[in-house]
């Protein structure tokens, strides 16, 4: 068996993290049709909120996690209300929205660095307090199991939300054609605001889980966004299932890619996957 079980586990864990980022990103893209580059910073907001509430204020860790997820959601909701919605009302192009989101990402990243410094911080305790599980010779930590479980639950929850509720029908209608959705009486701006809240909250959760697994710094959002965007494009941008598929494909390609070659090629491999899809299957696996 050798290192194969560990490689598979590592790929699944990486895929689960990318899934959480890609899910929110795709949800927002589906409704708004623009690349929200500020999505990654929601992960940093979630992670730093937990650091602040749990480690500085000393709140219960579960309360801190709920507050962190909620804060990321509210920041996302606020960004839509105060920046993106006014731009959409002025019929701003997707390029303008993209540039605005880039500005938001840069500004929020700088604010986090000013408030908390750019030093790396970890949300977890010592290695000794971590529980380990062995699966077919591969080791997985308790935190990684929680990541895996969270990704599964969030995906199931989003699918249920989109396909079993009136809200989901409205989101899908907006995703198909916002103009028609508005004509048939859907309050599109209100629904998009909720979509921003949910998508950003999921990104916040991703940041919190990465904070427990590895740690956080103000740039965590950029690196997660980078992988989330690749996963979304590879899977089919705007498609929930596509995002999940793309995330796991990226996780496997990255980890198996450096099996026989040096680890420094990891990001290059991720880019190679992106370029391959952009050339040969630009609409992604799910071909939405």
């Amino acid at each position: 068996m050798g290192i194969l079980p560990q490689l598979i586990l590592n790929s699944i864990i990486a895929g689960a993290i990318y899934t959480l980022v890609a899910l929110g990103f795709n949800l927002i893209y589906g409704a708004t049709k623009f690349f929200n580059l500020a999505h990654g910073i929601m992960a940093a907001i979630g992670g730093y909120a937990v650091f602040y509430f749990a480690k500085i204020l000393g709140l219960d860790i579960y309360v801190a996690i709920i507050l962190g997820v909620a804060l990321a959601g509210f920041v996302g909701f606020g960004l839509d209300k105060f920046i993106y919605l006014p731009l959409r009302r002025r019929k701003a192009s997707n390029m303008v929205l993209l540039v605005a989101s880039l500005g938001v990402m840069t500004a929020l990243q700088a604010i986090i660095a000013i408030l908390f410094s750019s030093r790396f911080k970890t949300l977890s305790g010592n290695v000794e307090t971590q529980k380990f599980f062995t699966i077919l010779g591969g080791v997985i930590t308790q935190t990684q199991l929680v990541i895996l479980l969270s990704a599964t639950l969030v995906m199931a929850g989003l699918v249920a939300l989109l396909y079993k509720t009136q809200f989901g029908k409205a989101v899908r209608a907006i995703s198909d054609d916002e103009e028609v959705a508005r004509i048939i009486g859907i309050n599109t701006n209100k629904i998009i605001g909720y979509v921003f809240f949910i998508g950003s909250a999921v990104a916040g959760l991703a940041g919190i889980l990465v904070g427990f697994d590895v740690g956080i710094d103000p740039e965590i959002g950029s690196s997660l966004l980078f992988k989330g965007v690749i996963a979304s494009i590879v899977g089919g941008v705007g498609n929930i299932y596509g995002g999940v598929l793309g995330a796991f494909l990226l996780g496997f390609v990255e980890n198996f890619g450096i099996w026989k070659i040096s680890g420094e090629w990891k990001d290059a491999i991720a880019f190679a996957l992106l370029i391959t899809f952009l050339i040969f299957r630009p609409r992604g696996i799910m071909n939405k």
């Binding site: 560990q6 864990i13 990486a14 290695v127 690196s223 680890g263 420094e264």
Partner: protein
């Protein structure tokens, strides 16, 4: 008329030492914020101690500190700012990353540059110097210690950085002809946080010890993930353990470092900061004193040129510094010795030179 008389009188009457007083500006680029801020602060404190203790000089000396967070882009912008706005005469940089960025800028602008760096490329050119224990010295000590402990199989984890590359290239060269074999060598990029796959690749390599060459926070994350993967093999490093604030992570592990500073420097540093000197602090202290000594030796009343300062620096032998008696070799490198240290009760302790 009165103003003219007073002005002429001022210049005629003031002493010769005042006439020659020129301000030599030294720009220091080091991480003052971020994960390695504690090291930048150590370098700043050491230079300030040197400045406070320099005594009477014919020139005035001004030090300007710039933060680069050990980011090459920020290093370049800091160097350009120091040159164009502050008009510095000399640079002091910390790390091979920063040194490699500033060396060509210093060379092009004929500014003296001292790097606290492992990569010998930093000393390339007329105006560039290094004051750091070179990889060859550190590797010599590492190999002797590995042999003394009967270690034959070495695993390596290294960040893709100029300093680490220079150290490993030299180590491989020195290992030729010994019975020590590198059984796995894993490389990762700066900023990497997920080391699990490269750890899995090296797990069954049969390494008897792992040599870790990484900066903070990659170093701490790597060690944490190695422990999570169930690796209990000893770890060692060249310098990098002391670039971390979490020394308890390396409790009981030995490593190679530059030799201990003198007791005099340790006392001065401790008196000013209430702390032990950080890695590179003694080098920074020496560099400031060397730049001052070279500038002071230049004869004449006008401001020394960089060429004159370089000439004086190249003449320096047996200079009494914080790291012992220092000499500048023909490559512009000040060779200092390495030592074996161990982390004991969360503190570095020298166990052998």
């Amino acid at each position: 008329m009165a103003v003219v008389v007073v002005t002429i009188g001022y210049f005629v009457l003031r002493g010769p030492s005042e006439i020659s007083a020129e301000t030599i500006k030294i720009g220091v680029i080091a991480p003052m914020t971020g994960d390695l801020a504690f090291m930048g602060e150590g370098i700043r404190d050491a230079i300030l101690i040197a400045k406070e203790n320099m005594g009477n000089t014919k020139n005035r000396y001004e030090v300007i500190f710039e933060d680069d967070q050990l980011d090459a882009k920020m290093s370049a912008s800091a160097a350009n700012k120091l040159l164009s706005i502050d008009k510095v005469d000399a640079f002091v940089t910390f790390s091979s990353v920063t040194g490699n960025v500033v060396a060509p800028i210093a060379e092009q602008n004929k500014a003296v540059h001292f790097g606290i760096a492992s990569d010998l490329n930093v000393a390339k050119g007329k105006y560039n110097f290094i004051h750091w224990t070179p990889p060859s010295e550190e590797n010599k000590v590492l190999i002797v210690e590995l042999q003394r402990r009967g270690i034959r199989k070495l695993g390596i984890f290294k960040g893709n950085a100029p300093g680490a590359i220079a150290v490993i290239d030299d180590l491989k060269e020195q290992l030729k002809g010994t019975d020590i074999e590198v059984v796995t060598e894993q490389v990762f990029n700066s900023g990497e946080k997920d080391f699990r796959t490269i750890i899995a690749k090296s797990k069954d390599s049969g390494s008897e010890i792992y040599l870790l060459l990484a900066f903070s926070p990659e170093l701490e994350i790597l060690v944490k993930q190695m422990r999570e993967a169930g690796i209990t093999t000893p770890i060692t490093s060249i310098e990098n353990f002391e670039m971390s604030e979490q020394l308890d992570l390396f409790e009981g592990e030995w490593y190679v470092n530059s030799a201990d500073p003198t007791a005099d420097f340790i006392n001065k540093f401790n008196a000013k900061t209430d702390k032990s000197p950080t890695l590179g602090a003694a080098n920074a202290y020496d560099i400031f004193n060397l730049i001052v000594a070279a500038n002071e030796k230049v004869e004449g009343v006008s401001k020394p040129t960089s060429d004159q300062v370089v000439t004086e620096l190249m003449k320096i032998t047996n200079f009494s510094g914080a790291l012992g008696n220092l000499s500048v070799n023909e490559d512009g490198i000040i060779v200092s010795k390495a030592a074996v240290r161990i982390i004991k009760d969360g503190k570095p302790v020298t166990v052998g030179n």
